[in-house]
């Protein structure tokens, strides 16, 4: 029983952090919003294929490493397209040519976030010729006629949102079961936690420098105590996310429960921390040129993904054994 990063895991996390902070720092979103065009950069370093088997061209790692990567991605509100691209690889596992193109970043994947008989709403740029839909029971990869879609404005301006008619979607591959769904929940939880942690870092840095009434604002309890609460949210969400990823990796019976808990606490942390980060900054917090709002807007998008709170509540409100899968 060891719920901390081993040296290999720490290396992955460090590498992800180094790459993302250098190439996709949060502040990039003020100057340019070309994330969609830069997805291939993730391919070069093998980030898409972290959890794809080595014989299929991936790194042969698992959900723990994916979680660590998406946590770092979340910190910088990194390119959203990485998420559907990485998840689609699991659906396309038996389509060698498509798998290769996806791993290479030659083909890109949008994420469908709602769909009915008449069409769907998706997230992803012009370059997406595929679209992924995840549900608790099955995951489907579609061929997408992106040119038939209409873009709609999105609160998170680093993400392109579009509406597509049903006719623009053709099923390419499908897998059943909740495995990918749970993995996706872990990845989204990690991105939410990344946003929450980034918000904490932003305000604690500012609180040490900014002065008002002759003192750094970090010396006021009106700032110190909310910051402490933010830190508690980050720490509790981090530990639970680690546990959930490890439980999923180990195939524990209570993995779905642990993942639901991880999602809920990460979501709660992201909401509360991206909110408090703006408030505690005061005036500068609401300006466009400052980065606080970028985290809030990304978190807003993330917490709408993959199912409502009702499903999670149902999963969580089953009485479980005291020591979970631990006995």
């Amino acid at each position: 029983m060891y719920l901390a990063l081993d040296s290999h895991e720490q290396e992955i996390a460090n590498a992800a952090a180094a790459f993302l902070r250098a190439e996709f720092p949060l502040a990039r979103l003020h100057a340019r919003r070309d994330d969609d065009a830069r997805l291939a950069e993730f391919s070069t370093l093998g980030w898409f294929g972290l959890a794809v088997a080595e014989e299929r061209g991936g790194s042969g790692l698992g959900v723990i490493e994916q979680m660590l990567f998406f946590l770092e991605l979340g910190r910088v509100a990194g390119p959203f397209g990485v998420l559907p691209q990485a998840l689609a690889l699991q659906v396309a596992a038996d389509e060698p040519e498509l798998l290769r193109a996806l791993l290479a970043g030659e083909e890109n994947v949008a994420l469908l976030v709602e769909r009915d008989g008449s069409g769907a709403r998706g997230l992803g740029g012009d370059n997406c010729r595929y679209a992924l839909e995840l549900t608790a029971g099955e995951s489907t990869l579609f061929r997408l006629a992106r040119e038939q879609c209409d873009d709609v404005p999105c609160l998170d301006r680093s993400v392109v949102m579009f509406k597509t008619p049903a006719s623009a979607l053709q099923t390419v591959a499908r897998v059943t079961g909740d495995g990918l769904w749970l993995r996706a929940q872990v990845c989204v939880s990690a991105m939410l936690l990344g946003a929450a942690a980034s918000a904490l870092d932003m305000i604690t840095g500012y609180a040490k420098e900014r002065e008002t009434f002759g003192r750094p604002i970090g010396a006021y309890q009106a700032v110190r105590h909310p910051c402490a609460d933010m830190a508690v949210r980050v720490e509790s969400a981090r530990c639970q996310l680690y546990y959930a990823a490890a439980a999923l990796a180990a195939g524990h019976d209570d993995a779905a429960l642990q993942v639901a808990a991880a999602r809920l606490v990460a979501q709660h942390a992201a909401r509360a921390n991206t909110d408090a980060n703006i408030q505690l900054h005061g005036g500068i917090g609401v300006t466009d040129e400052f980065s606080a709002h970028l985290l809030l807007k990304r978190a807003n998008l993330l917490w709408r993904l993959f199912g409502s709170g009702r499903d999670r509540a149902r999963t969580l409100l089953q009485v479980d054994d005291l020591d979970g899968a631990g006995s």
Partner: protein, 392 residues
């Protein structure tokens, strides 16, 4: 990361489970009085006689020297078996006084006290807080004057939990007149039967009398009872900080886990005014789900701390985070139960065994205040973890 238990750990769990199943008391713990203290002594004696005492003490001092994870397994099995909770009248002796004597005591002190603590013969209480120094220990005023071979103690301590049952007290006094803050304090073993000590119970809003005010009127304590150096009491008091390696809240965590599951069952059979079940009500369901998720997260925090803390690390800010999570979640839970239940919740006769839910509700305030208020915990996190500038 690895959630698997080793073969050795699994065997330990099986052995603990079997022993507990055969040995836990069949009677509930009395809610107060000498009968309660005797119950605790009896259980500790039983643990001692069967080789389960001092699970976190080094083997050389009669303990089991278990790893942190084995300790967690032990407490989990205790909770599963419904064994007496380890936060009882033996707690200060086993978790604080004993470790302090191990760290700083003389050979004579070790030889006399440690076996008596392990066997349940000696119960201890704490004598740190004072009426005007609750969270602010460094401002304490109780004096100890050296007089021959004795320290002569005068002053008042408060919030002395179980002081009426204790044989000894870990007592922190100011031995350098006029000294300030952390300087000039001395940590001394006080015999609770020494002349000049008066223990006066403080009745709480829960209706119980577990805490006390202790008055010292020329109480003589042999200098041989000083642990550490005269004037070095602060260092002695701090010496146990690194003793617990992330397991400090394991008892709380497990009790909370059990209470949350009870509340989920309760919500599954409680009908609201409209006729529906509480668990089907989106308001209660959402609140309860977050509480459950936080409870799982608290368990994960314990496991992560055990894995991450190195020997001797000060768990300070992590302990503060745990305390905020545990007490905050417990408060949210007991308030949810209060909202869910109707007039039967208002029935309360001061007996926690008979009205546990109302008791837990009232306890929620003690919980967020005792042992360092939530406000103080936030200060510790802001100082030690976030390294924000200090106002004080």
């Amino acid at each position: 990361m690895d959630l698997h238990y080793s073969e050795q750990e699994l065997q330990f769990r099986a052995r603990a489970r079997q022993w507990l199943q055969d040995n836990i008391p069949r009677q509930p713990r009395p809610v107060g009085g000498e009968a309660m203290a005797q119950f605790d002594r009896d259980w500790q004696r039983r643990l001692f006689e069967h080789g389960w005492a001092g699970i976190n003490w080094p083997e050389e001092y009669g303990g089991l020297g278990l790893s942190a994870i084995q300790q967690v397994i032990w407490y989990e099995e205790c909770a599963r078996a419904g064994a007496p909770h380890f936060i009882n009248t033996t707690y200060v002796a086993l978790m604080h006084a004993g470790p302090t004597i191990i760290a700083c005591g003389t050979p004579q002190q070790k030889q006399f006290h440690l076996p008596r603590i392990l066997s349940g013969e000696s119960l201890w209480c704490q004598g740190f807080s004072e009426p005007n120094a609750g969270s602010d220990l460094a401002s304490l005023k109780t004096t100890g004057a050296v007089d021959g071979d004795d320290l002569v103690i005068n002053g008042t301590k408060t919030w002395t939990t179980d002081g009426q049952h204790a044989d000894f007290q870990e007592l922190l006094v100011r031995t350098t007149p006029g000294s300030e803050r952390h300087r000039g304090l001395t940590w001394v073993i006080c015999d609770m039967r020494a002349p000049g000590i008066t223990v006066q119970p403080i009745r709480t809003m829960l209706g119980d009398e577990h805490v006390n005010t202790t008055f010292y009127d020329d109480v003589r304590i042999p200098l041989a009872n000083v642990v550490g150096e005269i004037g070095g009491g602060w260092r002695t008091a701090m010496s146990t900080l690194g003793f617990e390696r992330g397991t400090g809240f394991i008892g709380e965590q497990l009790a909370l886990y059990e209470r949350v599951n009870q509340a989920i069952k309760l919500a599954g059979r409680t009908r609201l005014e409209g006729g529906g079940l509480a668990i089907d009500d989106s308001d209660f369901a959402a609140r309860l789900a977050l509480i459950k998720a936080d409870t799982l997260a608290i368990r994960a925090m314990t496991l992560a701390q055990i894995s991450e803390l190195r020997e001797g690390d000060n768990p300070g800010p992590k302990g503060s985070m745990m305390k905020l999570m545990v007490t905050g979640t417990a408060k949210a839970l007991s308030h949810l139960v209060a909202d869910m239940l109707g007039w039967e919740f208002l029935e309360y006769n001061d007996n926690r065994n008979e009205h546990p839910l109302t008791y837990d509700y009232l306890w929620s305030w003690v919980y967020t205040i005792a042992g360092g208020t939530s406000e103080i915990q936030r200060e510790i996190i802001a100082d030690q973890m976030l390294e924000l500038p200090r106002a004080r």
